[in-house]
Subunit: 223 residues, 2 copies
């Protein structure tokens, strides 16, 4: 039995964050693929509150929520630190991580879902959110400075998952002319070996979002 | 000029969390009361992304978002630690803090706002969320164990602000018979001197929520 297990799906970016962190820390783990339409008894037992992936199981104890798991990994295996040392820089990294999950991810998904005139507005809103990230990365190689770190892993979904969202939503959010530094960062990010080796195929992620979108639309059609 | 400033409003519980943390750490600070209907240029400059309180200004640098500020305070002034030492316990505290903000606060506010049959459902949903907290505190004096800590400060709003929400919403969520341990904890919590000395008057908080509710209703009436 492996001491570290990760319940996840290869196509989900919150799961990818954890895979990347474990690879950067060189922690051995067993990956257990979950079928989100038929959740395993282990997932329901380990995350009874949300019943969601990712779940990190370490010595039989579960940790859930990707940002919480990242901090747990950083505090448990202290080599190759993910968060900066300085309390102010740590606070900034945590602030932007929350911003990414609450504003960037949700506004991008809103742009995928919406149609017609609403879609144009949703794209504008999402791009306003990305402008904040563009300002943060301008002049730097990584959000973590010279080395890849916590905030890079949190924003890593823009390197592949955002492309898949754009394909499913029939639109372009991360226009290189508007976001030159962020676009360049995505290229640097996926060239890091620990990241490159563990990116799922784009078509799987496209399929993952398409299934999600079709499912949501079927729910609202049945209302 | 004080080295530590807090932009806030006395009636807001995210601000109270920060006041409590600074008191428990015995950190001197200057409190600057904000008028949320007429925000100061300092607030807009210090929190340009959200334009919200609380903002902690330390040596002229701003930190925002109450959970981020709590961790910043704990890492900057290390005496009287707020978070536990053990990485797993830290992860659990962060998990429940996020749960409180995303599930308990929002579902309680939903119960305040809604009316008729919806209100009954909203109360049930909120109470389902509080059941998780009841299980967490059962058999313990504080969420932090024998000493008050981070998670106690995060859940501290249930000791006074929830009463005000109940009054404004004309309902009862934290029924002592249903939530004996959580109800007992609220009594222990407000007896801690650092907390007791800095609770705003209940009528101010009632007024604060009533103004917020009236404002929201005027917005939806003008739609």
């Amino acid at each position: 039995m492996s001491e570290v297990k990760l319940l996840g799906t290869q196509s989900s970016f919150p799961c990818a964050r954890i895979i990347w962190a474990l690879k950067l820390k060189e922690v051995e783990y067993e990956f257990i693929e979950e079928d989100l339409f038929n959740k395993s008894p282990l997932l329901l037992k380990m995350n009874p509150v949300y019943k969601k992936v990712p779940v990190l199981i370490h010595s039989d104890k579960p940790v859930v929520e990707s940002l919480v798991i990242l901090e747990y990994i950083d505090e448990t295996w202290k080599h190759n630190p993910l968060l900066p040392e300085d309390p102010y820089e740590r606070a900034m990294a945590r602030f932007w991580a929350k911003f990414v999950d609450e504003k960037c991810v949700l506004s991008a998904w809103e742009a995928v879902k919406s149609e017609g005139e609403n879609k144009k507005k949703a794209i504008e809103t999402a791009q306003e959110m990305f402008e904040h990230l563009e300002k943060q990365i301008a002049g730097k190689k990584y959000f973590g400075g010279e080395k890849i770190g916590y905030l890079d892993l949190v924003i890593g979904w823009t390197s592949l998952w955002l492309n898949a969202m754009e394909e499913v939503g029939g639109m372009k959010l991360l226009v290189p002319e508007k976001f030159p530094s962020l676009s360049e960062w995505t290229q640097n990010f996926i060239r890091v070996p620990a990241i490159q080796d563990s990116l799922p195929p784009l078509e799987n992620v496209v399929n993952y979002f398409q299934v999600g979108l079709d499912y949501l639309r079927s729910l609202s059609a049945n209302k």
